[in-house]
Amino acid sequence: MTNWFYNLTPNEQFAIFSLLKIVIAVFAVVLPMVAYSVVAERRISAWIQDRIGPNRVGPFGLLQPAADGLKFILKEDFTPAYARKVYFWLAPAVAMVPALMTLAVIPFGSKLGSQQAVIADLNVGILFTFGIVSLGVYGIVLAGYASNSKYPFLGGIRSSAQMISYEIAMGMSVIPVFMLVGDLNLSAVIEYQKNGMWLILKQPIAFVIFLVAAFAETNRLPFDMPEAESELVGGYHTEYSSMKFALFFLGEYAAMIAVSAMMVVLFLGGWTLPFAGLNETAESLGMGLLQVGIFIGKLLLFMGLFIWVRWMLPRFRYDQLMDIGWKRFVPLALANIVVTAIYLYLTHGK
């Protein structure tokens, strides 16, 4: 049975394993996680607002995603006559895909059996993620443009300005991290943190800037200008219905998962815990799975934070959003780079 497999060339084996990892990571882990973070969001918001929340479908409302999904599929898929058809169809897909692609370079564990627990161990991992994230804005802008009506248009324009601004702050905030690590590879970043000195302790300013920029990049409250309900109806997805709307909705959660995963890797030590040998490369399959579990646990912490913040803070005003991005975070990130450079020069240089 397994004979044919060993007869393949290493390249073919690599391709098969990569495909397997993609299928498992995306369809068995990320998509269910997306579905259940929607449920979590609804339940947690209900607790915060002293309501009960969805608890009818299945035990504790756990089958809610199935009901939601079915409802989305059965709704009429309406395309307004004045919309630009091609872009109108393209936009939801473009919104969803980059979020999933970012996960390709995230190391979610050390080893599973003989396989490294990362889909693509790129040596420029972080640049890849930033590149893909910068493509994410196209989905929203295209949606705004394609809908060809006023509120989506305003939402799209707002979103592009917001995402371009915060991308700069986000990109600059991680530079000190890589100055310390000396490598752009995300596995190397985890290797650097495995003695328990997580980068959140060494670079707290970078972490705060990255966290806030992450909220802005994923269009979450307090920075959800592109879809501000009270001003723009639904923002860029006003004209969308059925599965197309669902794709935007799920894309937002997928982007949250991607950005949380990045934060876990960059600042919280990835799959490591500094005791019981959990910071060493796993030798048994059980240990490997445990480390994947640790990674997902840390990731869920961030997802919880995202949801919690959404229901606790009011929305920023648009000029405040731009002010805090350009006049506070960008200079702060630059100062952080300079300070880190001086520190490195004094300790390692000469």
Binding site: Y87, F128, G131, L135, V137, I157
Partner: protein
Amino acid sequence: MEILFYIFSALTLLCGLLVVFNPFSRNPVTSAMFLVLTIICMSGLFVLLKAFFLAAVQILVYAGAVIVLFLFVIMLMNIKEEERQRFRKFGTFLGAAAVAGLAWILVTTVMNSRTGERSVANNTGETKELGELLFTNYVLPFEIVSLLLLVAMVGCILLSKTPETEEEAE
């Protein structure tokens, strides 16, 4: 691997052609979107050369920046008017002539250059080496380019700033 090279090159050329010469749509937004596709295909070519850093930067800088172009198109141009325009004969002729001239130069250059020793692609520490080269051998061009960008930025701000009227100045 060779087949991938041909796929990416063909896609790059096709998308590049559709940016400037699209028989199906005269919409500038469509051109901008094809420009994004061209850039992504080109970064695919860089990946095949094992220049991962360049590939990532290509997408990050260029594909990310096209969104600004996109916005300019939406905000500053009258798209309906642009769409109504047909291909101008003179413009098409001039464009074709320019492309032919450039292609001729390229072909003659490639034909005349001897195939030398192929430099070995090295996919470890590439970013580090690039950074070292930029700050040692190529530091002067690097600084000049950054100064040029700074000048462009200052000029941009100066141009986009609304001039102060007399009353406001007082």
